[in-house]
């Protein structure tokens, strides 16, 4: 066989194999990726790195609440962050599906993520998404939603308002081993809302526990102003040691440079009772402190920035 014939046959074979194209080069996929909440967009901004032995007590309580809040945001968004870095498994008009994939943590379960887009106008985008789980080998009717969310853009694809819902009890009832995480054994469901199109940016998180839990619910409300100042209100509803339903609310406000104030209020039997107040400076050390128990007052209340 001549070299010319070999070359000609090689070219012919190549021509036959040329039908398909591949890749993830897509403008529309960008819409789905942009609509997913980013952790840093919905996390609370507080200078949590500044801690001193003599930091104000309520500053430390605020810091702890912010860290807990942010950790739960990370846990939630990590579900969708997994799909942000990968091309969809299938595309169907305004719907993208990732998976099903076997769960890394629970190999007998598999996971899928489904996102549905509806463009209201060229600058307004609505997106719904959900993370479903099911036992391996089951049909489509076995899918149970672990997480669901929606997003409406305002002004740009990355700014708008959205919500995330985590259905712990629903997947628990379906057999999903969610209770392997000790932090979730009392959780019924968790809801997050956020709005970042304009200042003040806000994020709320509502935790609803099972009826059998001592702590019935918790609520975080975070707001961030354009000048870097922020606030967070976090409250808990639960039974006291005496079996009385009580609500504790801490309201914290801080400036971008660090100084802030926090007030703790207890609402037993519909009676609001301020338990204490702390004001702190940029170094987080208390400049003013008041505790109702013992009627203790330290510092100058005029030093409070709020």
């Amino acid at each position: 066989m001549t070299s010319r014939r070999l070359v000609a046959q090689g070219l012919a074979c190549t021509l036959v194999a040329l039908i398909s194209a591949c890749g993830n080069y897509s403008n529309e996929d960008l819409d789905f990726q942009l609509a997913l909440p980013q952790q840093e967009e919905i996390q609370a901004k507080l200078q949590v790195s500044l801690v001193r032995r003599d930091s104000a007590e309520y500053y430390m309580a605020t810091r702890s609440a912010v860290l807990t809040f942010n950790a739960m945001i990370v846990d939630l968004t990590s579900f969708v962050d997994h799909v942000r870095g990968y091309p969809p498994t299938s595309r169907n008009g305004n719907q993208r599906t990732w998976g099903p994939f076997p769960s890394d943590k629970y190999p007998t379960w598999e996971i899928r993520v489904v996102m549905t887009r509806s463009a209201v106008s060229p600058t307004l985008l609505h997106m719904d998404y959900q993370v479903d789980v099911r036992p391996v080998g089951q049909d489509d009717t076995a899918w149970v939603s672990l997480l669901a969310g929606s997003y409406d853009s305002r002004g740009s694809a990355r700014t708008g308002q959205g919500q995330i819902h985590f259905f712990a009890q629903a997947v628990r009832q379906a057999g999903y081993p969610i209770d392997d995480d000790r932090n979730l054994v009392d959780l019924d469901h968790l809801d997050v809302t956020y709005a970042n199109a304009a200042y003040p940016k806000s994020v709320t998180m509502t935790i609803v526990n099972l009826d059998t839990a001592k702590t019935k619910s918790g609520h975080y409300a975070y707001a961030q102003a354009q000048d870097g100042s922020g606030s967070m209100t976090f409250d808990w509803h639960g039974l006291s040691d005496a079996g009385v339903l009580v609500a504790a609310t801490m309201t914290s406000r801080w400036q971008g440079a660090g100084p802030g104030r926090a007030d703790l209020v207890l609402e037993p039997a519909r009676l609001a009772l301020t338990l204490g107040t702390d004001c702190w400076g940029a170094d987080t050390v208390a400049t003013y402190s008041y505790r109702v128990q013992g009627n203790v007052t330290l510092g100058d209340p005029l030093s409070c920035v709020f």
Partner: protein, 535 residues
Amino acid sequence: MNERRARTRAGPLVAIFFVLVAWPAGAAAQHRFALIVGNDQGGADTRPLRYAADDARKVHKVLTELGGVLPADLALVLNQPAAEFWRAVATLEARIAWTKQRGERALFVLYFSGHAKDGDLRLGDTRVRLDDVKARLLAGQADIRIGIIDSCHSGMVTRSKGARHAPAFTIEAAGSEETRGLVLLTSASADEEAQESDEIGGSFFSHYLVSGLRGDADRSRDRRVTLSEAYAYAYARTVADTAESAAGAQHPTFSYDLKGNAELVLTDIASRREGIYVPAHAPAGVYYFVDGNGFIAAEVQKPAAQDKQIALPAGRYHVRRRLADRLRIGEIRFASGQIATLDEAGLRDAPFSDDPVKGALRDPGARVSLGLGGTMQSFFDGPTRESLFPPAGMLGLDLEIRDFFRRGWMWGLDFASGGARAETDRFGTNLPFRFVELSAGTTLAAEWRLGNSSFASFAGVRLAFLLMSRKFDDPTIPSQFFATFSPGLVAGLRYRVLRHFTLLGRGRVHYLLYNIDENRSLGYWELCGGIAYDF
């Protein structure tokens, strides 16, 4: 298509010593020598010829088969430098001197096919002064020296001798003495191009010279072809066939300084009873006999009611006779020592597309070039261009092989890489990105030389493999890629600026099936400019 091509060989004559035999009755036996030189290359300021070496091979063949030249007395110098030429001249001169010392008569033919310019014969990058060649012929010891030069402006060599371009010449028969002296034949006048033809696979002059020597020039029908018969035939056919060419009519010339009365017989058809006989009752016209390699081995112009015989080596030949609206084609074969009679009834009608010459395969000698160029690519669709695949500039390498699959075809491989900065807007969010593209393509194109200029145009098809990717400035957006094959059309011009360098301009139009979000048929264009080095 009868593509004619000028041989840009200026100048002086290349002496072609063509062995002719003075074959007068009663003449003493003659020892014949021949130096056959063919060179396709002519140096930096010339374009390569296609058929110079082929023409030399044909002349070599007819002289050994019918011209009485023994292989030991013949030197074939193909695509060799001047040193090889002079070495062959010296060797043959020594053999001629030895022959003369034995008291034998000697005839020496020098045939040259190639470039000539500014008084030089061009042998690749080396040169041989025509005056030197001419002086060597004049001083030669052979009784008869014949120089045949097939090159552009070759008439310069005969001009100083008072040459003429005339349909024929006659050697005076003033006495009984044997012929002695020098004859020079050239394929073109001093101011004319010598033309090649793809259809006949050679230069017009050499083609008709060979056909004539094989018998078609035998006007006297004595089965011998004399120098004057061969010249008259080659002159008439060359002028007729080139009259309508872009380069204009080509007129062979001659000059001679001979003494004696013997006719110079170049080939003896009767000596080799092997060939094709065209009987008198066969239709008049031009018959072509095409060998197995697609070469026209011989051409016969048959008058009405007159037979013709052509001497050819044993084998199988396609026969072609061209009519106004069709071809008459057939096949004829004969064994060694046989003369086959052409039977008109054995021919059949065929369309011109079945021309055995055009369809024949031959080894053209592939030519390779390596190019470097810049390409601008842009999609036709506006939204695609603005947000998906932005216009991109690329740098690339081209490897092209010409006359590989077929003469006049070019097969190329190209690789290019480039990119651009761009941005896309999604619901008010601006996303800048860096677009990068790698492409590899293969092209199959036909080329046409534009007249006798250094321009050539080409058009063909191309298949490209594209790998396109983009990386967003926003690190949270993953990089994207798209890989696909893309068929397209390509056309362009090339212009040879130097012997080895060609400027290139081309345009491409491609189809691309984009199937990520949805199936979309897209098109894009590419404009490319570059320079190529021809090996």
